[in-house]
Each structure stands twice: as structure tokens, then as C-alpha cells.
């Protein structure tokens, strides 16, 4: 824990670099492909969903499956996910933070070692994450890092809803941690 914290980048450095990446991505893609490319992640998961969905013939005409299966942004974002995995691997290996872990240690402390219990939460949580991201047309990356920067009304509502529901859920999950104990 201690050495993990010491080699972390400052939030300002990370934030500044992400803003440059986000603008450069948008800009370069507009230049090479002549269309605006919103930096996002959700459509990459949509691409995986579309590949699964295409196994069922009844879904071939489904507009969501078609959109994620055919649009180039979903294809790009699928590779963006692969890039994220490699990036996370490289960064954690370089800083010595790579650690194989089945479930988060903080979860174990409050909710026990049961892997089944945690995986039920992960399953439900990830279903909601996928459904919600598709319905609000973007996740934290698309709706906050991009959408808030664009001051899009849709993204501002979506991003604010992420926080409202996330804060309530976290409070229910960890009622004691969230209490105002004045330790900060």
C-alpha cells in the first residue's frame, strides 16, 4: 500500500495528459477520417455485444446490434479496450503495482472472503453498467471526460446521474466507512 501511493502521479498531471489525449484523439481522427470521433469506451463493449448477438439470427436486424456491429467507432473502441488492458498492464508492471487479485481487499474487509458473493455483485453491477451506458449513450469517458468538456446538456445530466446513483449505492454498501468520522 505505502509504496503504491508514493509513485502515483499527481491528479493534475494525469488530468492534463488525459485532456491532451482526448483533444488530440478527436482532432487527429477528424483529420484522417474526416469525421468527428468522440473519445469513448462504451461502443467497444457494444462491439463485443454485437459479435455475441450476431450468433442469433433473430438479432440481425436489431438496430442496436447493427449499429455496434457496423459503425467504425465501435470497431476502433474495441481496440481501444485492448489498448487499455495493455496500458494498465505496462503501467502497473513498470511501477511495481501489478498484483494478481481475485476480489478487492477492501471488499473482503467489509463483506467477507466469499468469492461467490462478490461475483454476484460484479455480475449485477456490470449488467447495470452496460445497460446504463448504452441507454445514456456513453460512460464516464464519453459523457464526462468528453461530454462535460463539450458542455453537452445530455452528458451533463448523464454524468450527474452517475454520481447521484453511485454515491447512494456506495453509501448503502459501506454505511460505516462513509460516515462523517472527522478523520480527514
Amino acid at each position: 500500500m505505502e509504496n503504491e501511493k508514493s509513485n502515483e502521479w499527481h491528479w493534475f498531471k494525469g488530468g492534463l495528459l488525459v485532456s491532451l489525449l482526448s483533444v488530440a484523439t478527436y482532432f487527429i481522427f477528424a483529420a484522417i477520417a474526416d469525421r468527428n470521433y468522440p473519445f469513448g469506451v462504451t461502443a467497444g463493449f457494444g462491439f463485443i455485444a454485437a459479435k455475441f448477438g450476431s450468433l442469433f439470427s433473430g438479432l440481425n436486424e436489431n438496430p442496436v446490434i447493427k449499429r455496434f456491429g457496423e459503425k467504425p467507432d465501435a470497431f476502433i473502441e474495441f481496440f481501444l479496450i485492448i489498448g487499455l488492458i495493455i496500458g494498465g498492464y505496462t503501467a502497473s508492471k513498470l511501477s511495481g503495482n501489478f498484483k494478481s487479485e481475485t476480489i478487492p481487499a477492501e471488499w473482503v474487509k467489509y463483506h467477507g472472503k466469499s468469492i461467490v458473493k462478490r461475483y454476484v455483485f460484479v455480475f449485477v453491477g456490470s449488467l447495470l453498467l452496460g445497460y446504463g451506458a448504452a441507454l445514456s449513450s456513453g460512460c464516464t469517458t464519453g459523457n464526462i471526460l468528453q461530454g462535460w468538456a463539450h458542455l453537452s446538456l445530455g452528458s451533463m445530466v448523464a454524468g450527474a446521474s452517475f454520481f447521484v446513483a453511485g454515491i447512494i449505492t456506495a453509501k448503502i454498501l459501506y454505511p460505516k466507512v462513509g460516515g462523517s468520522d472527522g478523520t480527514n
Binding site: E4, K5, E8, W9, H10, W11, F12, G15, L16, S19, Y26, I28, N36, T42, G46, A49, V64, I76, E77, F79, G83, L84, I85, G87, G88, Y89, T90, A91, N97, F98, K99, S100, E101, Y110, V122, G125, S126, L127, L128, L129, G130, Y131, G132, A133, A134, S136, T141, A149, H150, L151, L153, G154, V157, F162, V164, A165, G166, I167, L173, Y174
Partner: protein
């Protein structure tokens, strides 16, 4: 075209994942710490990124170098946002950090990747109902046309609000990740 798309996606994803992991944004205790209103490092990181990119986007836009396309407002943004937020609270990470966590050796994130894709598949199955319930009416997401002001009269106050929030939480809370 296909190859450049693959390379482009891989490179952008790699840099993004590297920054997220290096800055500690991928950590379960940091995400939960933010949602429990105890550790605001992620919020400061996000608002820093948002403020800089907002100014850059609109500056480049003024020079005619890019065109910002805003997302329209419909009920799906609110309802979907609440569903997403609940999922994020249960998981302790969002889609981008989920992928980076897979690379960091966190095994449950692989399971979550398939869960999230399945969630989108369920969305596809429910699209008929969703369309009539949440997506039938929308208003333009362009805030500038709504107010009819010069856009910098909105961008600059927005930037000041973001910086103000960063300043406030930075002063009031330490980047204390050991809240558990």
C-alpha cells in the same frame, strides 16, 4: 482504413490506460472513496481533464480545426445515468478503468467485461420498449443555442466553476486513499 483504425484504437487505449493506472484512478479504494465522499483525487483528475479539454476544444473550434458535436438530452440520459451509477457503485470501477484493471491483474474485471457486454445485449433486446419510453422526445444538447449567448460567456464561467470545485475539495480533503 481498417488497419489505421486498429492502430489508432490500440495507441489511444494504451496511453489512456497507462495514465489511468499511473495516476491511481483504477484503484477500487479510490473510486469507492470518491463515491463515499472521502477521497476526491478522481474528481480532481476528471475536472482538470474536463476544464483543459473544454478550453482546447472550443479554441480549436474557433479556428475551424474541429467541430464539437453535443449529445442531445432525452430521458435515457437520466434513467441510463442512474442505472450506470448504481452499477459503478456495485463494481467500484467504470468501463475504462475496468479494462485497465484487467491489465493490472484484477481477475474479476474480466468477468465484468463480459457482464457489461451482456448488459448491452439486453439493452438491444429491449430497444423497442426503451425507444418509446425514454428516447421518443429529445431536446438539443447544444447549451449555447439554448442561452443564445456568445459561447465564451458560458465556457469561462463553467471553467471557473470546475476550478472552484477542484480548489474547494483540494483544500478540504486530503488525497487519503486509506479510508477503509
Amino acid at each position: 482504413m481498417a488497419l489505421i483504425n486498429i492502430v489508432f484504437g490500440l495507441v489511444v487505449g494504451f496511453i489512456f490506460g497507462f495514465i489511468l493506472s499511473k495516476t491511481g484512478i483504477t484503484k477500487y479504494n479510490r473510486v469507492m472513496g470518491m463515491l463515499l465522499l472521502k477521497d476526491f483525487k478522481i474528481l480532481k483528475f476528471m475536472l482538470t481533464a474536463v476544464t483543459f479539454s473544454m478550453i482546447l476544444f472550443y479554441l480549436l473550434g474557433d479556428f475551424g480545426l474541429l467541430k464539437v458535436v453535443s449529445k442531445n438530452l432525452d430521458w435515457g440520459k437520466l434513467v441510463g445515468g442512474l442505472i450506470f451509477g448504481t452499477g459503478m457503485g456495485l463494481l467500484g470501477y467504470c468501463p475504462g478503468t475496468m479494462a485497465a484493471r484487467i491489465g493490472e491483474g484484477k481477475k474479476e474485471a474480466i468477468f465484468a467485461l463480459f457482464g457489461m457486454s451482456l448488459g448491452i445485449l439486453i439493452y438491444a433486446l429491449s430497444i423497442k420498449y426503451v425507444k418509446t419510453a425514454f428516447l421518443s422526445s429529445e431536446i438539443s444538447g447544444d447549451i449555447f443555442s439554448l442561452f443564445g449567448l456568445n459561447k465564451w460567456l458560458i465556457i469561462i464561467p463553467a471553467a471557473l466553476i470546475f476550478v472552484g470545485i477542484i480548489y474547494f475539495v483540494n483544500k478540504k480533503f486530503s488525497d487519503n486513499e486509506k479510508i477503509f
